[in-house]
């Protein structure tokens, strides 16, 4: 029998986590405006790490999906 009182099962949890996550992300970008960059050029531009991380994340997931589709075999393939 499942324990429905656990905090993971509380309704609206996902929405609250999304809001908290968005606030943290925004705060990180805002905080960057108040620091001195140690790198020059593109890597020292405002929000570089943010969009680079998002881009790398998206591309990595897309690439893994394509790779999996192309090279997937049954678990028993080598048996």
């Amino acid at each position: 029998m499942q324990d429905r009182s656990h905090w993971l099962d509380r309704p609206g949890l996902a929405r609250k986590l999304w809001i908290a996550f968005a606030v943290i992300l925004l705060a990180l970008v805002v905080a960057e405006m108040f620091i001195t960059h140690s790198h020059s050029g593109v890597m020292g531009s405002l929000g570089f790490h943010a969009w680079f991380g998002l881009l790398v994340g998206g591309v990595s997931i897309a690439l893994s999906k394509v790779w999996k589709a192309a090279f997937k075999r049954k678990d028993t393939y080598y048996d």
């Binding site: 099962d9 990180l28 001195t36 140690s38 680079f52 991380g53 990595s60 075999r73």
Partner: protein, 565 residues
């Protein structure tokens, strides 16, 4: 002169041999005490060569200590203690024996001052580690162990050929820094690289390690690949090819990790990925880069063991290993969840964790050397690791959909081992100064700058955002299938080729035998034709005919004589 009895490896090997004869508390005491004594010996050993042995005209140096060997010796023995604590109730004593002897041999490599000693311990390590895999006593482990052994013996043969060539060419067995500028040195480099999980043999790590038991994989994750990092850092710093090899390993590990449905196998891919960072750092080769690589190896042993312990606990308590079977386990395994998250943050180099203070040195070194493209790829690799182990692993095992499984936390000793390593992950991240003093080269690196902390947090969390956006809008279909890897070439194609070779060789053999028989038969027939009962040479001839031919030949002779004279 130091006695061989003071070698830190010896106490672990003796402990391994002793374990089958002990039971209960005595066995546990030996398992915990041996790594602690070995750690003390690592630090008691004097610097430089403390034991030299003449051997067939060569001067072997089985015990040689410096800052780098002490760094690896320290983390290997700490790992031995935590691994022993985690495996305290492991009933398969053969696994424990193999694991302790394996640890001892890895220390043998780390304190070797010459190539011959390195090779001997290197091969012994391969044999001991495969016994850890075999100890899980399953058919799949037996087969994976055999593949593991074949790959490592191949590496050993190549390494031996390289060492023999190097010693012949230089007359020196000393293990010193070199570049792969001659064939023997290139062979040595290849032999070393094979143990890191470098291409084209990267798949031996995810193929074999997950087949070990819940505790066996903890030991396996620490020693073979990191001993290889040690010998590369000592033998080939600045070998440019390592940058390319390391970068390949980083992205190979990420993509295959994201494809993988088996949690323990995914951690195997993650080992290759992390060792890729170290190999890249060694390829950059400056003091800061090598410091970063070995610091990363130190940190990696701890956080990777923590991750494998956490997932191993889940495996032990549920009996399942696939993401498709997990989900929502944080409900009943909160401590394991927290430990796994700390491991995930550390491997992702999140601020205030060990990975953050270690990995950054390699990126900084790349910039110092004007290798901007390497910096970008290392940053991309860091973001990818967070996606993989920092998010995907945690989400599908401990959160996500509720699998309905309600496993309890693992036994106390396993929890203690995880907590110990979780504390170390954070302690190293919070107090990097102490950690940096252990590194082989003096440096003045400051990881905690505002730009670094904010930049790293952005990089990681925004890559995490990509995961959750994908999950929200496209869904993440976990597929119960394996992904073909380069091992397909020797598991299927090579096997097919070998089978073809055997079949064709058989046909060729049959053909040769048939041709031989046909030839023999023809010869016998020919002999029979001329010499047989009715053969022309065996036939009896009438005397008159013989006289006739004799006269004819004499007449021909006389005629020729007359004509020529």
């Amino acid at each position: 002169m130091t006695s061989v009895l003071q070698h830190p490896a010896l106490i672990l090997i003796l402990a391994g041999i002793l374990l089958p004869f002990l039971r209960g508390g005595a066995r546990g005491a030996v398992m915990l005490a041996a790594p602690v004594i070995a750690l003390a010996l690592v630090w008691i050993l004097p610097g430089g060569v403390s034991l030299a042995v003449p051997f067939f005209g060569m001067d072997l140096e089985p015990i040689k200590a410096d800052k780098m060997s002490r760094l690896f010796g320290t983390v290997f023995t700490i790992m031995g203690f935590a691994g022993g604590l985690y495996a305290l109730t492991q009933e398969k004593v053969q696994e424990l024996t193999a694991a302790y002897i394996y640890m001892g041999f890895s220390l043998g490599v780390v304190f070797a001052g010459d190539l011959i000693t390195v090779f001997v311990f290197w091969e012994l390590m391969a044999l001991a580690s495969v016994m850890v895999i075999f100890s899980s006593e399953t058919e799949s482990a037996r087969r994976a162990g055999m593949r593991y052994l074949l790959v490592h013996l191949l590496g050993g043969v190549i390494l031996m050929a390289g060492i023999a060539g190097e010693v012949t060419a230089t007359g020196d067995v000393g293990f010193r820094s070199m570049l792969p500028d001659t064939l023997p040195r290139a062979l040595i480099l290849f032999g070393f690289l094979l143990n890191t999980g470098a291409p084209p043999f990267s798949s031996w790590v995810p193929d074999s390690y997950p087949e070990a038991s819940y505790s066996g994989m903890v030991f396996l994750s620490a020693f073979t690949t990191k001993t290889a990092v040690y010998v590369l850092a000592r033998g080939f710093p600045g070998a440019e090819i390592l940058i390319f090899v390391g970068l390949f390993m980083i992205f190979y590990g990420i993509i295959y990790g994201l494809c993988e449905n088996n949690a323990r196998k995914m951690l195997g891919y993650s080992i290759v990925n992390q060792v890729g960072f170290m190999v890249t750092g060694i390829g950059i080769g400056t003091d800061l880069a090598v410091n970063g690589a070995v610091a990363h190896a130190f940190a990696h042993i701890i956080y990777k063991a923590l991750l494998i312990m956490s997932v191993g606990s889940v495996f032990l308590m549920t009996g399942k290993r696939k993401f498709t079977e997990y989900g929502g386990l944080a409900r009943t395994m909160p401590l394991t969840t927290i430990c796994c998250i700390i491991g995930g943050l550390s491997i992702s180099a999140f601020p205030l964790t060990s990975g953050f203070v270690a990995k950054a040195m390699m990126s900084e070194a790349a910039l110092h050397e004007h290798l901007t493209w390497v910096w970008y790829l290392l940053a991309a690799g860091t973001a990818g690791v967070f996606l993989d182990v920092g998010i995907k692993l945690q989400y599908f095992v401990f959160f996500g959909k509720d699998s309905g499984l309600r496993p309890p936390e693992p036994p106390l000793h396993m929890r203690l081992a995880m907590v110990l390593f979780a504390i170390l992950c954070v302690a190293i991240g919070v107090l990097p100064g102490v950690f940096y003093q252990l590194l082989p080269y003096a440096q003045d690196y400051q990881p905690y700058t505002g730009a670094h902390v904010i930049g790293q947090a952005q990089l990681l969390l925004f890559s995490g955002l990509a995961f959750f956006l994908w999950l929200r809008f496209k869904g993440w279909q976990l597929v119960e299938a394996l992904t073909l890897d380069l091992d397909w070439f020797y598991r299927v194609w090579g096997k097919g080729m070998a089978r073809e070779l055997v079949v064709n060789a058989g046909l060729a053999r049959d053909s040769i035998i048939q041709d031989f028989l046909n030839g023999a038969r023809a010869t016998i027939n020919a002999v029979r034709h001329f010499h047989g009962p009715s053969g022309v040479l065996a036939r009896s001839h009438p005397t008159g005919r013989m006289v006739f031919w004799a006269v004819a030949m004499l007449a021909a002779y006389l005629l020729l004589d007359y004509l020529l004279t």
